[in-house]
Structures are given as C-alpha cells and as structure tokens.
C-alpha cells in the first residue's frame, strides 16, 4: 500500500485549476491566469499571498514546477515572469487523491441523495 499523501483542499483546487489552464493554453500558466481560473472555480476571491504561498509549498513537495518566461513583457518593471505547470509527481498525487475520494464516496449514494 502506497504511503498516503496529504493534499489540502486549496492545494487540490490549485493543482486542478493549473492543469486545466495549462491544457487550454498548451503551455505553462502565468500566475494571473491561474488566479482568475481559481476564483472562477472556487467562486470566491483568492488572496494573492495565499496563492503564492501554496505554490511555494507545492513546489517544495515537487508537485508543481516553474520556468522563467522568455518573452519580454514590458510592463513588469524589469522583473521576470514565472510560468507554472503540474509535475508528473503532482499528477500522480491527484490520481491517488481521486482514488481515495472515490473510495470514500462509494456506497453513500443513498445517504447523500
């Protein structure tokens, strides 16, 4: 049995939103697009600090990775732009989480109807 991973609700939302946008863009996602999608999915404001902190944490766990955008964006005061993507490890964690959740949901059809 694999070691159970601990995936918080917000972390899961971030990973899923990140996957969605990356699929649509067909390239890694800048934070702004990610945040917009998240707010749409979650139906609430997402604080900038919370999002960056979560991304840092996900990176520490090597579930997301980022690269510096090579395109020169003029209005960033000379600061680089990061683009994020979910790593294979991250996808594995999501799969595991989905499996766990499915297991938990199964057999509750009647109760939760």
């Amino acid at each position: 049995m694999p070691t159970p991973v601990f995936l918080g609700e917000f972390e899961q939302l971030v990973l899923l939103a990140l996957l969605q946008v990356t699929e649509e863009l067909r390239r890694e996602t800048p934070v702004r697009a990610l945040r917009e999608r998240l707010e749409e999915l979650a139906g609430r404001k997402v604080s900038r600090g919370a999002l960056y902190r979560t991304l840092d944490r996900l990176e520490d766990k090597s579930w997301v990775g980022w690269s510096i955008d090579a395109d020169d964006v003029p209005e960033r005061g000379g600061h680089p732009r990061r683009r994020f993507a979910v790593t294979p490890d991250g996808i594995a964690v999501l799969r595991a989480s989905r499996k766990t959740l499915r297991g938990l949901w199964s057999g509750l059809k009647e109760v939760l109807r």
Partner: protein
C-alpha cells in the same frame, strides 16, 4: 524607469506604482527570482488597471497582504523549528489578540480609529502641500545652486525689479561665478485649429534651459545665434502641446507652425512636466534689442558655477552693477542688484512661514486626536485591569504586557492611518484648490511622500497614545486588581493622566481657535474692502492683436471701436471698457517729467503706473470721477494729447491745487490733464494704491487689451457671447483669461484664504475633539463615582449639590486648559501677523469670544454626565458593589 510621461526630473514616473510601497514589498519577499517574479506579477496588474486613486489603494492593499503573508510565514517555514517562539510569533499572537479585542468592542474601535483618521488625514493633506512648498520647491536638478537676480533701487522702493537687456548683457559677459539667462513672459495666438488658441510661455535667452539643467525631450535648446533680431523664427513647444496639438509627432522637429500669423520652425520639445512658476506652453528666443538700460522688463535666473558661493556671487554682481551705475549714470544711477536663491524668490518668506504655521496647526489637531484616543484607551484599560493582572500572575513580564498593549495601539493607529489616507485623498484636492496659482501647486498629490508621512504619523501617534495606557496598566497594584477591589475602574493615577490630557486638549484647541478667529476676521476685512472699482457683476477677458494682421494704429483703433460697440450691444451689458492692463493683473510703470519743474537726470525721473483706456473704461469699472472729464471718442490721434490722473498722482505733484489743466511729459509728448479720478487698490486690498495716470486708447492704440464688461446678469452667460462678438469681428482672435472680477480677487487673496481655511478647519476640528474629550472624561468620572454619588444622596445631598459637584470638577479642568491656551496665544499669534490685515494679533474680541464659546461648550459637555449623576438611585448605586 521609462523616459515617458510623468514628473520631471527626479520624481517617479506617474505610470509606475508607488516606489516606496514596491520597495517595502521587495524587502518582505524572498530575495531571488521567485520574489522578483511576484513583484513583476503585481506591477503588470497595476498597469492593467485604470489609473487613479482606486488603483493606488488596491496596490497598498496587495502590498500589505503579501508582505504580512511572507513576513509571518517565512520564518517558520525556513527555520523548521515549530516549537520555538520568535519575535514574529509573539507579534502575530499579539496582533490576533488585538483584532479579537477590537471585534468585541466595535464602537470603541470605530470611535478611536475615526478620531485618528481625522487627525492623520488632516495632517497628511497639509503635509502634501508642505512637501511641495517647503521640501521640494524647485523642480530642477541641483536647484540649490539656482538664483534669481533682480534690480533694486532704494529710493524708488524696488526690491525685486526687472532688468534691462543691456544690463543683462553686461552681467552675462562680466560674471565668472554664474551662468545667466533672461526671460520674459509672453503669449502668442496659435491659429488654424478648431478654435483660435492662446499659448503662453516665455521669451528666453540662449542658455535658459541649460541654466535650469532641463534637456529638451526632442531637438535642441536655443543657441546664441537665435538671439539675433534677423534670425529665422524658431520655437520650442512643451511636451503637453506636442501631444495635444501635434499628436506627439516624433518628426515634429523641423516642422513649421503658425504663431501670430507667422511661420515658426519647431526646433525642440520640452521635457514632460517642465514648468517655470507655472505651466509653459512654449519658449521663443529673446531677441537682442536696442532698448536702453533704463527700460527694464526682464527676469534673470542664474546657476552658480561649481566652487562659487552665494557670498562671492553677491559681491561680484553688486560690483558689476556698481561699475555700470558709474559708467551709465543717466540710466543706472542709484540701482543695485539683489541675488537670492530661486526658492526664496518663488516662495517668499510668508509662504514658508504660512506652511510652518499650517503644519503646526494640524500637528495640534493630531495631538488632540491622540489625547482623545489615549483617553478612550485609558478608560477602556481600566476595565481590563483583571485581564492584565491575570496575565502578569501567569508569568507575563512587565515588558511583555507593555509590548502587547503597544501592539494593540499601533494596530489601531494603522487602521486610523489607512482611513486617514482616504480622507487625505479628498484633502489633497482641497489643498490644490487652496494653493491654485502658487508655483508648483500642481505637484501637490497623494504621492509616496504623503503615504510615508501617514505611516510615520500612525507609528508616532500609536506610540504616543498607547504609551500612557500601557504604563498605567503595569503600574497598578496587581493584587488589588485581582482581588476585585478598587473603585470599579481607574486608579487615581489614571484619572490624573486623563484630566491632564483633557486640559492639554482644551489649551491646544483654544490656541487654534483664537488663531483661526483672527484669520477669519482679517480675511473678511480684506474681501469686503472697497477697492475703488466694481467687483460683482464685472467680467474681464484678454485679447491681443497680432502685428502682422493689425500693423497700423488706425487698424487697431478701428478694431477696438468696433469691438466696443458690438460688446456694448450684447444683452445685459451695461458698460464696456478696454484697458492696456487690468488693475489686479499687474501694472506697467513709465518714466515721466513735469514740465516747468526742476529737471532731474534721466535715471532719477519719477515713475508712475499708467494705463491706456477706452472712453467708457471709468464707467465700466465703476470708478469715481472726482473732477474734470473722462475720455471721449474724440480723443484720437491728431487731437490734443490728454490724460486723466488719480488722486494720489495729483497730491504728489500739486498737493493743494487742482491738477486740471496741468501738464505731464511722457517720452517727448506733453499731455494735458483733463480729469481726476479716485484711487484704486490696483495691487490688491492689502497694498496701498499707486500714483497712476490714464491715457486714451484711441490716441495710443496698443496691441493688447483687457476687456472689462459691467453686466446686470449672471456672468457665465456673458463669456460665450463675448467670444461670439469677438469672433464675428475676427475669427482668428482668441479671447483668453476670461474671469469675473470676483474670481480674480479671490485668486489674489488665495494665500490669505488658504491660511484662513486651513486654520479654520484645524480650529473647528480641535474644538469638536476637545468637546468630545471633555465629555468622555466627565462621563467616565461620573460612572466611576456612582457609588460615591449614591452615598452622598443617601446622606441627604440634593440634586443641585450633585450637579454643582460635577460641573465644578469639569469647569476647573476647562478653566485650567483655557488659562494655558490664552497665555499661549498671547505669545504665538504674532507669528500670524503677515496674514492679519487690519487686525491686531491680540484682538480682544477673538480672545474673549473663543474663551466664552469654549467654556460654554465644555460646561455643556460635562452637564450631560452631571445630569445623569443626579438621576442615580441611591439604592442601586450602593448595591452596585
């Protein structure tokens, strides 16, 4: 930073987010590409938002959110010792505790935060003006080395006179310590657009931009050969004109534009935001003239060369002028020069003084606000005795408790500061309105300096009002508090502190109110003064005839006659006058001599203000004709030269006889006096009327004139019809500087109005805060003494006695405060003297009036709690313990 639009040359680009905030955030974020990219994301979003205050507020919010998140979480994450408690953890706990407390006491928190917001917001608004006027007055590089050079003449009373072209030339070639440039304000008509437009700017000598260290954004500055009278016409346009009228055409240099009906080649574009005592639309070269040394009309600005000092510069320049005076006695005898720093010329002493007074006034308001909040917290702290005692019993050290209480007050201060920024946003607009017309006033803005000021003010006031309650809290005898004894809140020391605070409040607000009252008295004296001409229902507007279209005197005379008739025919117009210069706009001086009086050397000829006016001018102005006649339409070129003099001029030369029939020689023409008019306050109500004579416009048809129209209806409707009348006569003629005389007078009085409004607002706020403070303390005292009052009443005291007891206590407090305030005012109101027109700094009405009003208000404020005390039911009161 981009080289685009914005403030020049040291300020930030207006399009970039506030630099201070960005820097603060950079400190909180990790110092790597991660942190840098977070900054980049934020800046990118900033640029995607519509500019304005809302965007700045958004940025502030995001910066605060991000920094707190990174500051408080990073340490734990990196250190990885979840068990240790660091300073930041303590701070976080204290902050959480404070937030919880404030949530539990929303009314108290709101009252305290709003009080602080008022204090901080008012101070920040005034600071935004002080920042520009005192701290960043001159918008050029190394502005401390810039000087102005003026001609002085002790006999004539000139202290800041203009200079002549030949004198300027001699200075420029003679000096070794200065780089000099001359300038003269000018205006030109730009034709060809949808509406004829009037552009204003300066004629400047070569080197003007070099002296100011301003580099053209495009093209070049003027060269010495541009000063040659026969040189081809060239112009440098401002960045704003370049954008507005020429669509920011990058190929503008070399293009030709029509000014005054003549082609001018654009050789340069000024840097963005360039101004010189006000916005500048364009610069044209100052052509070398053969006007004499006695003909003075130029301003001169200089930059001290490196190594030279003000002292050396002064000595050298006075030496040069002394040599000129002896070489050219006919023109320069008796003159000298004054070298002043440009800052002191633009902002004379009263500006600096006024700014400091306004700054002190709002500082007082802030102090009063702090005192009020300290009082609130003290009263509130009294209720928290047990909590604090419990903490101490559980092992919290005194320092720990003080830190916790200070954290609370600082948090409160920053909430107040944040609200204060919102108030200051409105306040800054108020300051800009008040200082309109002052050089640089457009730079007054809610910028990073003001935000930094708010942060400092919040920090300072947080410590100030938090310290007293914190010290009070740890000084108490903890055992007493824990055992539940005491008087139901507040030790003796606490009460004493609170009373002292209220006394200080009353004293400070008394001083502010007296100053404000003095200023209001002076201002109403100024604005209601009879100036000798009509103020209401009078409008003025200027026009200038280009010499290319109207080269001949006869053409100009014809034009003015026609204009006069058409405007007079407009509905609602009762009289129309034309003058070479409107009184409050300024004046020209000319030399003259009185025939048959002992002759003087040309340099010592007397000077007087002169105006060239149309026949109906005196009637249109509502001026009083004292003797003789005004001008008629028959006073034209070819007819005998006639003039009208004012009372002051007549008294100067013919003290005890009628001036009618006497003659005055101006240049080579002898003019006969045919009329005498009353004096007018040409330089504003606070300056004496000058000696003055008037000459007929149709005899000397000048090329620029101010239209004065007396109306019997609302003036706003008239401007459009005036414009239409002018356009029907010449569609290329712009009518500009259209104003009512009332508006003109208002801008003339603006510095007095500004002082009056700022101190008035400060006084009023102080008054309200002090009244609230008195009420708060009395209410608390009464609540604290419920048991005592109950006991007294049980022992037979009547309601009247209780009332007297409470009122006496409040009254004593107020009386002490008033005593201090009145004494303080005796010593300080003289600093207002410059602004006190016809009002003594020790005006008795102001002193007694303010004292009475303050005393009555404060007694009223203590009457409410006193009445409550009389309603105490002795039984309930005694059972309370």
């Amino acid at each position: 930073m981009k080289a685009g639009a914005g403030r020049s040359p040291s300020g930030r680009n207006r399009n970039d987010p506030p630099r201070l905030l960005t820097r603060l955030l950079a400190l909180a974020l990790p110092d790597d590409r991660r942190g840098s990219s977070i900054l980049g994301d934020l800046i990118e979003e900033w640029h995607g938002r519509p500019a304005g205050l809302r965007r700045t507020a958004w940025y502030l919010f995001e910066v605060v959110g991000l920094s707190t998140r990174y500051l408080f979480v990073r340490r734990r994450l990196l250190a990885g010792h979840p068990g240790t408690y660091g300073v930041l953890d303590t701070l976080r706990n204290d902050l959480r505790h404070a937030v919880r407390l404030f949530r539990k006491q929303p009314v108290l928190t709101f009252a305290a935060a709003m009080t602080l917001a008022l204090g901080i917001g008012t101070s920040a608004s005034v600071f935004s003006a002080i920042d520009v006027i005192l701290l960043h007055p001159i918008p050029y590089l190394e502005s401390a080395r810039l000087v102005s050079i003026a001609t002085t003449d002790a006999d004539r009373g000139w202290t800041n006179g203009p200079s002549s072209w030949p004198d300027f030339q001699s200075w420029r070639t003679g000096t070794t310590t200065l780089d000099l440039a001359a300038y003269h304000r000018t205006g030109v008509n730009l034709a060809g657009g949808s509406l004829p437009e009037r552009l204003t700017g300066f004629e400047v000598s070569a080197g003007f931009l070099g002296v100011l260290r301003a580099k053209p954004a495009l093209g070049r500055a003027f060269l010495p050969e541009d000063e040659e009278p026969g040189a081809s016409h060239v112009v440098i346009v401002s960045n704003a004109v370049w954008r507005r009228d020429f669509g920011a055409d990058p190929a503008i240099v070399g293009r030709s534009v029509q000014l005054e009906g003549e082609p001018y080649e654009v050789v340069g574009v000024l840097p963005p935001g360039f101004d010189f005592t006000g916005p500048v639309d364009l610069l044209v070269p100052l052509y070398r003239t053969d006007a004499g040394r006695e003909s003075r009309w130029l301003g001169v600005v200089g930059r001290m060369r490196s190594g030279s000092t003000m002292q050396e510069t002064r000595e050298e320049m006075t030496g040069i002028q002394a040599r000129l005076a002896s070489s050219f006695p006919d023109e320069d005898l008796g003159t000298s020069v004054a070298v002043r720093s440009l800052k002191d010329t633009w902002f004379p002493g009263h500006f600096q003084q006024g700014s400091i007074i306004a700054g002190v006034a709002v500082l007082f308001v802030l102090l009063i606000a702090c005192a009020n909040v300290a009082n609130l917290l003290l009263a509130h702290g009294a209720g928290r005795e047990r909590e604090i005692a419990l903490r101490a019993a559980l092992g919290a050290g005194r320092r720990r408790i003080v830190v916790q209480l200070l954290t609370e007050s600082l948090l409160l201060a920053f909430v107040g500061g944040a609200l204060g920024v919102l108030l200051a946003a409105g306040g800054v607009r108020w300051m800009r309105g008040l200082t309109a017309g002052v050089p640089q006033f457009e730079q007054i803005a809610l910028n990073a300096h003001v935000v930094a000021f708010v942060v400092a003010a919040a920090l300072g006031s947080g410590i100030l009002f938090g310290l007293a309650p914190a010290i009070q809290a740890v000084r108490r005898d903890l055992r007493v508090s824990l055992s539940g004894g005491g008087t139901g809140g507040g030790s003796r020391g606490g009460v004493r502190t609170r009373r002292s605070l209220v006394i200080a409040e009353v004293a400070l607000s008394c001083m502010l109110l007296i100053s404000a009252t003095l200023l209001v008295e002076a201002f109403s004296a100024l604005s209601t003064k009879d100036l000798g001409f009509g103020i209401d229902h009078h409008v003025t507007a200027e026009l200038a005839l280009p010499s290319t279209t109207y080269p001949k005197a006869a053409q100009r005379e014809e034009f003015f006659r026609e204009l006069d008739e058409r405007v007079a025919a407009l509905p609602g117009v009762t009289a129309v006058g034309l003058t070479s210069a409107f009184p409050l706009h300024g004046a020209n001086l000319t030399y003259y001599t009185i025939p048959n009086q002992p002759s003087v050397s040309p340099a010592r000829r007397p000077t007087a203000v002169y105006r060239i006016v149309s026949p109906d001018y005196f009637r249109a102005m509502g001026m009083q004709l004292l003797a003789g006649r005004g001008f008629t339409s028959h006073d034209v070129g070819g007819a005998p030269p006639v003039m009208v003099v004012n009372r002051k001029f007549a008294d100067l030369h013919w003290p005890n006889e009628s001036p009618l029939g006497k003659t005055v020689q101006v240049d080579s023409i002898v003019w006969q006096i045919v009329g005498l008019v009353a004096d007018t306050y040409d330089f504003g109500p606070d300056r004496r009327p000058p000696a003055e004579f008037y000459q007929p416009l149709y005899q000397l048809p000048v090329d620029a004139a101010t239209l004065v129209v007396a109306t019997d209806q609302a003036s706003s409707a008239s401007f459009a019809s005036l414009r239409a009348a002018l356009r029907s006569l010449d569609p290329d003629q712009p009518l500009y500087a259209a104003q009512t005389v009332r508006e003109l007078l208002r801008s003339w009085l603006s510095r007095n109005a500004a002082m009056t409004e700022v101190l008035g607002a400060a006084g009023l706020l102080a008054f309200l805060l002090a009244a609230v403070g008195v009420y708060g303390v009395m209410a608390h005292t009464v609540a604290r003494r419920t048991r005592e009052v109950g006991l007294r009443m049980a022992l037979g005291a009547r309601r009247r006695d209780i009332l007297r007891l409470v009122l006496l206590q409040g009254g004593t407090m107020v009386a002490i405060g008033l005593g201090i305030g009145l004494t303080g005012s005796f010593g300080t109101t003289r600093f207002l003297k410059f602004f006190l027109y016809e009002v003594s700094p020790l005006d008795r009405t102001a002193f007694t009036g303010v004292a009475t009003v303050l005393l009555l208000t404060c007694l009223l404020a203590s009457l409410i709690p006193a009445l409550r005390a009389t309603r105490v039911d002795p039984l309930t009161a005694l059972r309370a313990e």
